[in-house]
């Protein structure tokens, strides 16, 4: 079957690579911290949040975890800072974080 995604790293040699760099399992984006690409960061203001859950399905990177019918803190390892959640929130409970 070939290599597991978690076994693939930057020291890999050509003999060990999968054919055509194929990846033989799903959900491997969890292993890649795409949040590093972010230039601006959304911030969740818990006090204003009504838990309407409109933000979560709008997030293109599934970086708003929902558990037991409630959203939780952003997954900043994968949030790319697109700001769609800020637009989606009817209660201004998400805003851009002030950067230094």
């Amino acid at each position: 079957m070939g290599l597991k995604a978690e076994e693939i790293n930057e020291h890999i040699a050509w003999q060990d690579l999968t054919v055509g760099c194929e990846i033989y399992e799903p959900g491997t984006s969890r292993l890649t911290k795409t949040g590093e690409w972010r230039s601006r960061t959304p911030e969740w203001i818990k006090e204003k949040c009504k838990q309407c859950l409109l933000c979560a399905p709008f997030c293109p990177d599934a970086s708003i975890p929902v558990k037991d019918g409630k959203r939780d803190e952003f997954d900043y390892e994968h949030c790319k800072g697109c700001g769609i959640c800020i637009k989606a929130c009817p209660f201004q409970a998400i805003r851009w974080k002030e950067e230094n």
Binding site: M1, E10, H11, C21, E22, I23
Partner: protein
């Protein structure tokens, strides 16, 4: 038993395609390769194949459709010439690096400048380093035979590279010659069915094809691809040996012409 016929190179390729009955043919017409999908469309209309015949809007799209089909686990083919092959350029590299063994029939034709529809190799030679294996046939018989060997070479696990079956535009593609065809069942048995180990439609094994490869992976992947091309040398000879055993016509890596005796008096005069 072989069947004596007289066919053009394009019809010979279309006949080989009919006998192989690929899963997908994504077509876009360009002279002089147009007859290949034209003949094949008739086979589709007549129910002689059950190929998914897709008429797309460009050569970039025809090869892209083939890639999608190959990744899904299908055997996919197309045909093109000249500017059509140049327009495929980007996708040729994707096919090769994704190691998807599409078989592409090329009726070689001059690229524009001055505009010309006749034969030279400026289209296929420009793609020499694209990662496609290229097999050139000198006449209709060789083109037909090369096509019968093409899928087995391209799909071999040690190779898994896309492949061009090249013929000379008009000189081969349109000229009608005597040819020995093989029986449909014998061809099907020789070529075999395509059963890739991993493919997108294999539900129990989710697969990602063509992922992003940063520098650390890029060169390793390129070396792996180069080795696949080197492996092709042996696979081509193995398939050719089986072809000779099965159908009686012998092929090697190159056809020699007066190279065994390089004595000066037998050499061609210098121009």
């Amino acid at each position: 038993m072989s069947i004596r016929e007289r066919l053009s190179g394009n019809e010979a390729i279309a006949t080989a395609m009919r006998q192989i009955n690929p899963d997908v043919f994504a077509m876009f017409p360009i002279t002089p390769s147009t007859e290949i999908p034209q003949y094949f469309a008739q086979y589709v209309a007549d129910g002689k194949v059950d190929t998914e015949f897709i008429c797309v809007e460009s050569e970039h799209s025809s090869l892209s459709a083939c890639l999608g089909a190959e990744a899904a686990g299908c055997r996919a083919v197309t045909a093109t010439s000249s500017a059509g092959l140049s327009f495929m350029n980007e996708v040729l590299y994707v096919a090769a690096s994704s190691r998807l063994p599409v078989v592409l029939a090329v009726a070689c034709r001059a690229l524009t400048g001055p505009i010309n529809i006749n034969h030279d190799y400026s289209d296929s030679m420009a793609e020499r380093d694209s990662g496609f294996i290229q097999i050139y046939g000198e006449n209709n018989q060789e083109v037909y035979d090369n096509y019968l060997m093409a899928h087995r070479i391209a799909e071999h696990p040690d190779v898994r590279l896309p492949l061009m079956v090249c013929e000379d535009g008009f000189i081969t593609s349109h000229a009608i010659e005597n040819i020995e065809l093989e029986e449909d069942e014998a061809v099907k048995k020789f070529v075999g069915e395509y059963h890739p180990e991993n493919y997108l439609l294999k539900a129990e094994n989710p697969l990602a094809v063509g992922p992003y490869g940063i520098s650390a992976y890029y060169m390793e992947a390129r070396v792996a691809q180069a080795h696949a091309m080197m492996n092709a040398k042996k696979v081509i000879l193995d398939v050719a040996a089986d072809f000779e055993k099965t159908f009686g016509r012998k092929y090697g890596l190159i056809e020699e012409y007066k190279i065994s005796d390089p004595s000066p008096e037998k050499r061609s005069p210098r121009l």
